[in-house]
Amino acid sequence: MDYEYSRFKIPDDEKALERFLEILPGALSWTIIIGMVVLSFVRPMSAAVVMIAFLVYWLLRLIYMNIFLVASYLKLAKEKDTDWMERIKSIDTSAVRSPKFDDIYHVVIVPVINENRRVVESGIKGLKTGDYPLKKALFMIALEEVAADGVKKDIEDLRNEYKDIFLDFIIAVHPAGLSGEMRTKSANTAFAAKQAAEYLKEKKIPYENVIVSDFDADAIPSRNYLSCLTYHFMTTPDRTRTGFQPIPLFHNNIWDVPPFARILDIGTSFFQLIEATNPEKLVTFSCYSMSFKALVDAGYWQVDMIPEDSGIFWKSFIRFDGEYRVVPIYTTVSMDIVTGPTLGKTLLNIYKQKRRWAWGVENFPVVIRAFLKADKIPLFKKISYGYKLLDSFISWATWSFLLTFVSWLPAVLASREFASSTAYYTIPRINGTIFSLASFGLVVCAVISLLLLPRRRKRAGIIKRAGHVLEWLFIPVTILSLSSLPALDAQTRLMFGKNLAYWAAEKFRK
């Protein structure tokens, strides 16, 4: 479907609809939070009953997610040592109608704005130590024109040092202030991708045979990333309408950050592990890969919107009338946990990053407007995806508030009528039982987090390792302040028609 995937280039007759859809997620979130508080005051018994329904739903969802978390982790552990190059050799390319291995190329795009050499170089080294022949890979640094001279020099030095290991090493300098663009990562990578397209055209490399990977500047792909990706590319039917999502880990500086930062991003990895078990609804996140042909046909990343990872998924999904999907690949990309020079700056930076992630809600009105016009996408698919999109943002913003504040409010505000009912006494017991059962989920998370953690530079004693488990006890406060609150912030901004200025996370490593 031809569709202008943009929040800003909207036909006049759709502006009202766009505004309504921008308001909807924030309005629903605030209605849920404030509504439950008001209900607790006005009708504490009803609020307590509604909370039971919510808590049972939450518990079952937690158990459901835990089952898939464990299954996904086991699969990741199993495939960690797979020799993908060997498996590639065993592919019958004619049977799967795949290009031959030798005809497949990679474009790796790494956007840079203020990252220092050490940060960017670690990603290059990660590729270098991998098992994939890098002479089939075009490495591109998407460098912002406004980057500091020191950064530009670092990148130039890197090019000089590493250009010979790749097919080519191109620095695409993204000019500032291009018309129609916001200053975002997606505008930068789109510019680089267009240059890559020109390069591939010159080299007569068909786009169908190219896989593009969009990495953050701090991303370090695992040793077998490219080989695993190539294998899945070759064996996926409709590969030119497919994206590929690895499991993001945040291990680069995991031991150098405060506990709350650590568990928050471990939680992000868990979320992606769980999402990987539901490939029908998987959406690209953070670092990912996709068919270069799909990228070109979809029109590249959107240059006037911030969420480039989810944005390209939705743009492609709509462009190809719902015939676009993301395949989970059980290999990892490791990134930095956002931090800062001081504890306060770390908190602020984490808040800003999560708010930027939550700004993916700006896709919602654009997607729904498209769905309303997309005759070729089955209705069930539209409802299913649309509901999931809305539900994910609303639950992100509201669940912590409901669990932390509203669950006990009705008992505290109990009217005389409620206080003399059986519900007043049984509901706290029921809630307590639910929270106790939920704590098992926390134990599962703590155990998986220990298994996922990389080895410390210095061996940690049993007390330190026990401390890592106990960090999970801070999850309620951490999630509330550094996950739900930023999500609510983002939705509220969208609700009031404000925009979010793009903010590039600072990367600090010891």
Partner: protein, 411 residues
């Protein structure tokens, strides 16, 4: 898997909600019935609960749910304490809550605080002090510190007032000041003194040319005394030793609270004035304020926002009705002989009262069948004092008049 969880949810969720509202499946009648529950909490906790003759698996505090509507005999027992029994009516969907049940020890542990004999106790509520009287002279009065558990004379041995015959002693809640009225028939005196300081005695006789009907002062501003005589309120400024006669006129009664003076006017309206300011008085509509203005013995409980007051034979509890214009009054005890003092205790769940020479404990329960337990005998015609801070009842033993303490709330 998703549909399995959905199925679980649509079955578990309504079942839990119905259970929370009291619905259970009765396998005997094979019907869904709505049950009630009884909740019990005791001081001390960990008491055994008996429903009829069957012991409940949990100890207090506990709630016994899934009770078919009807009447149940509930008994709470703990070793060393008197059992507490009550016939509870269970209604569908309702909870009968018996919170803060005080268990009385079989043998109360009495702590002697002073070996001397005394005639009476004069409470100084909210100050951590007690006045003890062992004679009629000012030198016969001593101050007992509840926290330090020591006493000392009210006035210094060298005080010129020590031989003053005392007619009455006036105290105010939460104020360490005492007003002593005494002297000979031809030479009455008023002394205003600080119970915490032996030598802080101020003669204020000249500020009180005539005996007032009432004298009050506020703990926030104890250098200002208000008196009522013949419908006029006079203000005495102790600092400058000045009298402001007819500060207010046409008054039936007054109380001091929260830096304000509340007056019951001749037309039975209640006005509030902030003392020290000349603002227009504010009409107070809450009926609850009438109680302390019409009954000298009204005792306020800040937890429940109720008052209690009494006659010689009955005790009443009064609170604000839902309609603020009305007062909700309930008789909670009848059958007294000479009820002289009452105290709220344990968050307003019990009333400790003195009836003739016995101290009794009245436990208030939601269904109105309140429990009364005798606690101790005291010296005839003496007063007692209960301190929420220390948890002790202070009384004079019936034989020797010695000051003793009895802990009412076992921790």
């Amino acid at each position: 898997m998703f549909y399995l969880f959905l199925l679980i949810y649509v079955q578990v969720c309504p079942a839990l909600i119905l259970y929370s509202l009291g619905y259970i499946f009765n396998p005997v009648s094979r019907q869904v019935v709505r049950t009630g529950l009884v909740y019990l909490s005791t001081a001390p906790a960990d008491a055994d609960i008996f429903l009829g003759k069957s012991r409940y698996k949990y100890k207090t505090p506990a709630s016994i749910a899934e009770l078919i509507p009807g009447r149940y005999k509930v008994t709470v027992r703990k070793g060393g304490y008197r059992p507490w029994t009550h016939i509870v009516s269970i209604e569908a969907g309702k909870a009968a809550a018996f919170e803060k049940i005080i268990l009385i020890p079989h043998t109360p542990k009495i702590i002697p605080f002073s070996p001397e004999a005394h005639d009476d106790i004069i409470p100084m509520s909210g100050t951590g002090l007690l006045l003890l009287k062992s004679g009629n002279r000012l030198s016969d009065y001593s101050v007992f510190d509840l926290n330090k558990k020591i006493s000392r004379p009210l006035v210094a041995s060298g005080s010129s007032f020590k031989e003053l015959p005392v007619i009455s002693v006036i105290t105010q809640p939460e104020s360490e000041m005492i007003l002593v009225y005494g002297g000979t028939l031809w030479n009455r005196e008023y002394l205003y003194m600080n119970a915490e300081k032996e030598d802080a005695v101020t003669q204020i006789t000249k500020l009180l040319p005539e005996k007032p009907d009432q004298i009050k002062w506020s703990p926030d501003e104890n250098l200002a005394i208000f008196t009522l005589r013949n419908g006029s309120v006079h203000r005495l400024d102790i600092g400058s030793m000045a009298l402001y006669p007819d500060y207010l006129e046409g008054i039936k009664n007054f109380i001091l609270r929260d830096r304000s003076i509340y007056t019951l006017e001749k037309d039975d309206t209640v006005l509030r004035r902030t003392y020290g300011k000349n603002d227009e008085p504010e009409i107070v509509k809450d009926k609850i304020i009438y109680l302390p203005l019409t009954r000298e013995n009204a005792v306020y409980n800040k937890d429940t926002k109720d008052f209690l007051y009494w006659t010689r034979r009955e005790i009443f509890r009064a609170g604000q009705a839902e309609d603020e214009q009305a007062l909700a009054t309930q008789k909670v005890y009848t059958g007294g002989n000479n009820i002289r003092q009452c105290f709220w205790i344990h968050g307003g769940s019990h009333i400790l009262f003195v009836d003739k020479d016995k101290v009794k404990l009245l436990g208030l329960v939601p269904d109105g069948n309140h429990h009364v337990e005798p606690i101790i005998k005291i010296k005839r015609n003496s007063s007692v004092y209960y301190s929420d801070e220390t948890g002790y009842l202070y009384f004079l033993d019936p034989k020797g008049g010695r000051l003793n303490g009895l802990r009412i709330l076992a921790l």
